[in-house]
């Protein structure tokens, strides 16, 4: 006869006491695992929601960026860079800059690492009288966009005009009845009409576009330009002009920079506002989830000790009942010479077995509970994500210790009973 055989026989004999002890431990284990899974589910859902929200925001921002880029392109150039010391009042008054700057400025800009502007278009603009037609026109000499060295070339906002060709605004071709392919004379030089624009309702209607070098020759300003047009992009703040100016002046000190296009401004503001709203929404989601986490943590902080205490008390009471029922038996064991330590081992082994089986049953019940209520309580997360194997292992180890600790006092009391006292009163 061994201690384990003795324990096994007793367990089989007093099944209900044993089963109740197992259930008490299982209840504590199940509660612990379900609470832990619930908290983990909250964290997982929060992480998923936040990452989805971040993704949504990023997508929305990209979409807005794209929309803005398209809008800006539709509006044309919105940044104008004028020569050093150019009086901007004169520009607003006459519509062009009287000062000039070297054409090489545009190369300097294109070869820089600037990212706040794009679509660089050097131009020589002047308002003059078309002597042959006796009317005021705006002459713009362009040579096509200069691509930024550090970026892939983009589709140009405006097509270049070949040397010897001319593009006319609506007012300039409608009156005389010019059409593409016709030849005309401008300041004594002959040009072939490449394109006739329809009415735009802007100063474009009285503009004639020629090749930059042709314009420089006509105006006697070889190698000079009086503006670089550009498109603002990639600005982070609402004060985009300040950002653009800061970057441009670092490359072309002294130049004057203005921005036009209030629609672009509105778009940019909308984009920034959308960004801020998305960030705010993200913060709100995080706050809500955090509040839920705190609520569940509070519940766990109350529930877990309560269940653990109930389990502990249940094991203590069941061991005490078992011990009291076996007092005569304990007296006989001691009278037969079985040592009190052996008796203590008998009770504690029984508690450990209850702990092991209770832990296993508790884990099984928790798994079952999660499987059944996965969608309703655990946001549909996988069981593997909710229950860590190391946590399960820890539980299976700690439950026997928990049960043995609970059974210790009544077991110790029983093993230290005076056999004479027991037998004398039996």
């Amino acid at each position: 006869m061994t201690v384990c055989q003795l324990v096994t026989r007793e367990l089989a004999y007093r099944k209900w006491n044993f089963l109740l002890a197992i259930l008490a431990v299982a209840m504590a284990a199940t509660t612990y695992l379900l609470t832990s899974a619930l908290l983990k589910s909250t964290d997982l859902t929060t992480a998923a929601l936040v990452s989805r929200k971040v993704l949504d925001t990023e997508r929305a921002m990209l979409r807005l960026e794209d929309e803005m880029r398209k809008s800006m392109k539709g509006l044309g150039f919105n940044i104008y860079i004028f020569p050093e010391n150019q009086d901007l009042g004169e520009v607003y008054d006459k519509g062009f800059a009287s000062k000039t700057m070297p054409e090489t400025y545009v190369e300097k800009l294109a070869n820089s690492s600037i990212i706040t502007v794009n679509h660089l278009l050097p131009a020589l603009t002047q308002k003059l009288t078309w002597p042959e037609q006796k009317r005021s026109i705006i002459l713009i000499g362009i040579r096509g966009e200069v691509p930024l060295a550090h970026r892939n070339p983009l589709e140009p906002l405006i097509d270049p005009v070949a040397s010897g060709q001319i593009v006319l605004g609506c007012e300039l071709h409608q009156g005389p009845g010019f059409k593409p392919g016709d030849k005309l004379s401008l300041m004594g030089r002959e040009f072939t009409i490449a394109k006739c624009h329809p009415e735009r309702g802007s100063k474009d209607d009285i503009t004639a576009w020629v090749n930059l070098s042709d314009a420089q020759q006509l105006l006697g300003k070889q190698g000079l330009i009086n503006e670089i047009q550009a498109l603002e992009c990639n600005c982070v703040t609402i004060d985009r002009l300040a950002e653009v100016r800061k970057d441009l002046l670092a490359i072309l000190p002294g130049t004057r920079v203005i921005e036009i296009g209030s629609q672009a401004l509105a778009r940019a503001e909308a984009r920034l506002h959308a960004g801020a709203t998305a960030t705010q929404e993200l913060a709100s989601v995080k706050a809500q989830r955090s509040e839920l986490r705190v609520q569940r943590e509070t519940l766990a902080a109350l529930l877990l000790p309560l269940i653990a205490l109930m389990g502990l008390l249940a094991v203590i009471v069941l061991t005490l009942l078992n011990v009291r029922e076996r007092l005569a038996e304990i007296g006989v064991f001691l009278a037969l010479g079985i040592h009190s330590t052996t008796l203590l081992a008998v009770f504690l082994i029984k508690a450990v077995v209850s702990g092991v089986l209770g832990g296993v049953l508790g884990a099984a019940l928790a798994l079952l509970g999660i499987a059944v209520c996965r969608e309703r309580l655990f946001d549909g997360h996988a069981i593997a994500a909710l229950l860590d194997p190391s946590e399960l292992a820890w539980l299976l180890v700690s439950m026997p210790v928990f049960a043995a600790s609970a059974a210790w006092v009544p077991s110790f009391w029983a093993s230290r009973r005076d056999p004479a006292e027991v037998l004398r009163h039996d």
Partner: protein
């Protein structure tokens, strides 16, 4: 000279009372049992018979006096050593048998193995003894499936199987019919005849008549009959 199996000298046992004054149960009691002794102890209830058995069985520390079992004082030993000593030297038989209800007949006897050092011959010896007492067909039955006489015989085998040479029996025939009483008393007598010693507390004249020596106990003292 034959060495005594049990030597009790000037034994006194007092129980504390609620009044604060101790109640003397055994007074200046002397008793010695040699191999071959089968002593019946008689006396009215409360005269101290069971207390004497418990003191003699190394279960109840006396207030004064000495108890020697096989020339050793068990009360001089530590609790663990006394348990082992008891398992090796003393066998108990109780009126209520005190068989463990969830163990089979054989397992109840094998309980001795939990107390003492491993005894490889214990199962064989136990089965032999059970056979002699007509219980060979009951080896795997539980106590609840046995008659009272059978239960007491199992308890007797449990007391004898451990190899003790001192048997202390407290009213062993109290719950038995005449036939079963005779079997039990014959077994105890045989045990004594074979060199053991038996101290039996009994109220029954037929049981005390079967003992080799009869002692009366009154007011905590022993008197020869």
């Amino acid at each position: 000279m034959t060495e005594n199996i049990l030597q009790i000298s000037s034994l006194e046992k007092h129980y504390p009372a609620r009044s604060g004054k101790d109640v003397p149960v055994l007074r200046e009691l002397d008793l010695s049992l040699s191999p071959g002794d089968f002593v019946a102890l008689r006396g009215p209830s409360g005269c101290g018979k069971t207390t004497l058995l418990l003191c003699a069985g190394a279960l109840l520390r006396p207030t004064a006096g000495s108890v020697l079992i096989d020339a050793s004082n068990p009360y001089a030993l530590s609790a663990a050593a006394r348990s082992a000593f008891r398992a090796a030297h003393v066998g108990f038989v109780f009126q209520n048998f005190h068989l463990v209800p969830y163990l089979s007949v054989l397992d109840n006897i094998m309980l001795c193995g939990l107390a003492a050092a491993p005894q490889p011959t214990l199962p064989t010896r136990a089965i032999d003894m059970l056979d002699k007492l007509g219980l060979s067909h009951r080896l795997h039955h539980r106590p609840a499936e046995l008659s009272t006489g059978e239960q007491q015989r199992v308890a007797l085998v449990r007391a004898l199987a451990g190899g003790a040479n001192l048997i202390l029996a407290d009213e062993p025939t109290g719950n038995l019919d005449a036939a079963n009483s005779r079997i039990l008393l014959d077994t105890l007598a045989n045990f004594a005849s074979e060199g053991g010693a038996v101290l039996m507390v009994t109220h029954e004249p037929s049981a005390s008549d079967r003992a080799f020596t009869r002692l009366d106990m009154r007011d905590g003292c022993l008197h020869s009959c």
